[in-house]
Amino acid sequence: MPTNRLIEKEKVGTYAAAMFDAANTAGGEQAVLEVRNQIEQVIKLMRSNMDLSTALVNVDYTPEERHQLVSSVFADSNPAFREVMAVMAERGDAQLLPRVFESYGDELAEKLDTIVVDVTTVVPLDGQLRETIKKKAEADLGKKVVLNEKIDKSILGGIIMSAGSKRIDASVLSQLAHARSVLKDRTDGGESQ
């Protein structure tokens, strides 16, 4: 198995471009965003399910069996994602999916001049709030922004925004964690801050 970083980078770029082009050709921006969300969900699934992640790269299975496994498990997914993922599993490159996701975001920004911003809140956003967030992200990033909204009660309140490797954590949970850290570390109870 080649381990050369340039070769792997080329592979990752090829898989991401194939997914993006297939999704964009089939359904435009909507399909591209859908594929992106599905890639993200599969990455989380692989991280939480070791049987799946192990099976996708298990050399005891033949390439055809791994291809068939992906086609069966992700049968309801976007065909663009499913077919490229099946090829990756067939070639034993399923573990490259997180890097493909990053490269997919680059494809999105480069070819559609669009950046997907993941927004995590406790309550659903209303129109005004969504517009406010979108304007801020577009002002910061200089590109068209598409919000990928998620609801997560565990953050207690506030908002977490992430675009690729960039992240703004303005959640109540992080504020409380910071307050807890200050209270624990400072001998003056944090009063000097």
């Binding site: 709030l129 960039k166 307050a179």
Partner: protein
Amino acid sequence: MKARAIMPNRSAHASFGAMVIAALSAFATFVVSMMTPALAFAMSAQDIAGQVVGADAEASTDAATGGIGAILPDMVEFIPMLIAFIILWIILAKFGWPAFNGMLERRENTIREALQKSEEAQIESERVLAEYQKQLADAKATAAKIVSDARESAEAVKADITAKAQAEAADMIAKAKAAIEAEKRQAITELQASVADTSVAVAARLIGQDLTDDDHRRIIERYVAEAGSFNAN
């Protein structure tokens, strides 16, 4: 010195000789006195014969010897005594004096040797005494040095023990202080952590229970307005 006091001298020898001569004179007198009765008897026989043949003549002789004859020695006694004295003197000069002189010389030699030995013994005793005194002084000095060394050693050991004890005490105190300080910090830290956890838990529960959706949205809007830029990350 006492040894010198008994040294022989000539006067002592002379007196001793005089005593010997006196003894010899007495001995001669004794010999003469023993011989005198015989001579007196012989003279008595002659006198009886003379008395018979010369009664007349005696009268004339007594008249002649009546003055000076009283102090002159009687030849009848004097001559035997002289002969006896001469014989005795010859005998003594021949046999007695050499033996006597030899005895004196032996005695002198004996006394001299005794005195010499006494001097040597005295010198030896003085030397031994001096040596003994020197050894005694050395022993005293050695004893004093040993005592001094022992005292110094004891002082050093005492100082060392005291220093070690003080160091150990200081170390124990420092460790105890450090342990107390560490426990104090640990207790403060645990208390702070407990207070922090409790405070955050209470705050989280209040936020989750008391805030409405609109409150959350207002918070989100405020946080978005106050949040930093993506480019700042």
